[in-house]
Amino acid sequence: MSDNATRQEALPGAAENHAGDHKPYAAYLLGLADDAMVYAQRLSEWMTNAPQIEEDMALGNIALDLLGQARALYPYVGSIDGTGRGEDDYAMQRDEREWRNVHLVEQERGDFADEMARLLWFSARQVELHTALAGSADDVLAGVAGKALKEVRYHLDHASLWVVRLGDGTDESHRRMQAALERVLPYLAELFDDDEASVLAAGLGVGVLPSSLHDAVVARAGRVVDEATLTLPNDSPWRSRGGRDGVHSRPMGYLLAEMQHIARSHPGATW
């Protein structure tokens, strides 16, 4: 379907040819891929905008890792959902309602504290998730998760170092970091929702129930927040929901408009 699909580098998952091999848990994998893809898009916005040039590079590295994880999953999804789609078909040609990422990753870039709060929670979830998925009954997914685990551990480490420094730094940084933890709070519950696709994949031994990760993730993030002399907020009057069903928040449409517009302006073109 896409010329680009034939030009991919060797990526885990992409290397396998499972065309026509229908499996019922494509939607679950698509959620994993979309989380990584959309967060990579947001993180890459930091390049040229970070507090120090060294941090431009660090956030660029994290974005590249996540982009690589998404690129490893998309072609595999295409091979098991019966469409044969390639990575760019998923990334560039789907409308907002077809995206299955959580709201956390689509939120607009805030200040550096906001990003470190988001990265802390997201990476803590990814570490637990990929630890579990490394034992998946699906060999391709297990391979992707095994590689990703090393990467997301580093991401968690990076976020932790910064949350501690901002929390236990100056009065201003403490105030900003605490405020960021509060702003990110409404988007956390959605990370642990047992949506239909997750329940199905978990039942097959392929995926993991998001709710089963909750305690370990909170424990990880909590230790960092404690060390940072911050307080874990736990009371939000509202929470995000619906990302896995393609119901997104306002920034998502704009993110897609920007990300997809060149590709969509030239139907069928190769880049």
Binding site: Q8, N49, E54, G60, Y74, M259
Partner: protein, 407 residues
């Protein structure tokens, strides 16, 4: 006799890196002969550099506005300091040794005695180069969020990351000369130091990412490779590392244009438009003419004597044109110069007159993006101040805690 003085020793390169570079002929000149232009007679030493068409981005050209005092080196304060320095030299210490090292084509290292003007010239040139890498992140960074495929997005992130890294290597090299990076960034932010004017042009379409890789990085190569042999050790070593890492930059630019030229009509038009807009600014990157009369007693002559600059702007520009014309033909783009034609007698391509008024206008701040580039850079730096302060405060607290627990 050990002297406990803080020392800056930067830019060392692992043996493996040197070996890699030598194998590619940058230092040894024993590279693939097919890649060097057989026709070039500009300067035989240039051909001896071997294949350079696949190395990368570099803006070490030291362009100076003749109407402005350059920096401290052209002020009364400097003159006083230089006079002092000269006295010291004539008392038979530092000058002799420095001259002997330069004459023997040996590297000058950070703690060696050196003429103040050598130091000033290097600080300005390396800083200008580092600033160019950092500001140069913006025109392409601008397209990361819109890259038309995931493959292109990954490449672009990695490339912009490299530019940040190269800026850091170069700031490191400058810091061995006794300036702090913060001070250099301040000079960039308030306009006291320049960066390559090429980055004051906008990136209007996706094809511009290709044109930057192909033309801008290609032009930078011409300056960069000779600087691997610059007389100042840390700068030369930083350049070797940059050369090694950037081997993919120009290639990916060429590949973008190659793909576009084999794509739809709209894509071809996009590529041609980008070549039209970037060709002349790329030629101007080499700086104003400095051969013949222009070189006498000037900046180029002094920098050459010191081994900071190895080739004249005009020679490098000619070689660039000779290298790019066949590549443009291969791509199928038309270079926007009706006077561009092969000259059998000279053994080079003739090309039209560069608009130097435009060059100086942009250099002095009146280009399409000067204000935007600096504003962006300043905003990022200012918005990050509280983060950098927080990290300092945390480090101080930790140090105090360690002290306390040790007591």
């Amino acid at each position: 006799m050990v002297v406990p003085v803080p020392v800056r020793m930067v830019g060392g390169v692992p043996v493996g890196v040197l070996v890699f570079v030598c194998h590619h002929g940058i230092l040894s000149g024993d590279g693939d002969p097919a890649a060097a232009s057989p026709r070039s007679t500009v300067d035989p030493a240039l051909d001896a550099l071997g294949p350079i068409s696949h190395t990368g981005l570099m803006y070490g050209n030291d362009v100076i506005d003749p109407n402005e005092p350059l920096n401290a080196a052209e002020t009364a304060v400097y003159d006083a300091a230089a006079a002092h320095d000269d006295q010291r030299d004539s008392r038979g210490g530092v000058g002799d040794e420095f001259d002997a090292l330069i004459a023997a084509d040996q590297r000058i290292e950070p703690r060696d005695a050196m003429p103040e003007k050598y130091r000033e010239t290097l600080v300005r040139q390396i800083a200008q180069h580092a600033h160019s890498e950092i500001i140069g992140m913006q025109p392409e960074g601008n397209w990361i969020s819109r890259a038309p495929s995931l493959r292109r997005k990954a490449i672009l992130i990695a490339k912009v990351q490299d530019e940040a890294g190269h800026g850091l290597y170069l700031y490191s090299a400058a810091e061995t000369l006794g300036v702090d990076r913060q001070e250099l960034l301040d000079r960039l932010h308030d306009g006291r130091q320049k960066y390559s004017s090429i980055f004051n042009y906008p990136t209007l379409t996706w094809a511009d990412c290709g044109a930057i890789g192909w033309l801008v990085d290609g032009a930078a190569i011409m300056n960069q490779v000779p600087l691997c042999r610059c007389s100042y050790g840390p700068y030369a070593r930083a350049m070797i590392r940059v050369c090694k890492e950037e081997s993919f930059h120009q290639r990916q630019g060429f590949e973008i244009l190659w793909t576009l030229m084999r794509g739809t009509e709209a894509q071809q038009a996009m590529a041609q438009d980008a070549a039209d807009r970037w060709w002349w600014p790329a030629l101007a990157m080499f700086g104003p003419p400095d051969t013949g009369e222009a070189t006498k007693g000037g900046h180029t002559e002094q920098s050459m004597a010191w081994g900071i600059k190895r080739f004249a702007n005009d020679d490098l520009r000619q070689r660039f044109v000779d290298m790019m014309v066949p590549q443009a033909e291969k791509l199928g783009v038309v270079l926007p110069d009706p006077e561009l034609r092969w000259n059998d007698e000279r053994g080079h391509y003739d090309f039209g007159e560069i608009d130097w008024d435009e060059f100086w206008q942009v250099l002095r701040g009146d280009g399409p993006c000067n204000a935007e580039r600096i504003a962006h850079r300043r905003r990022a730096h200012e918005e990050g101040a509280w983060v950098r302060e927080a990290a300092n405060a945390y480090a101080a607290k930790q140090a105090a805690r360690t002290k306390e627990s040790a007591a």
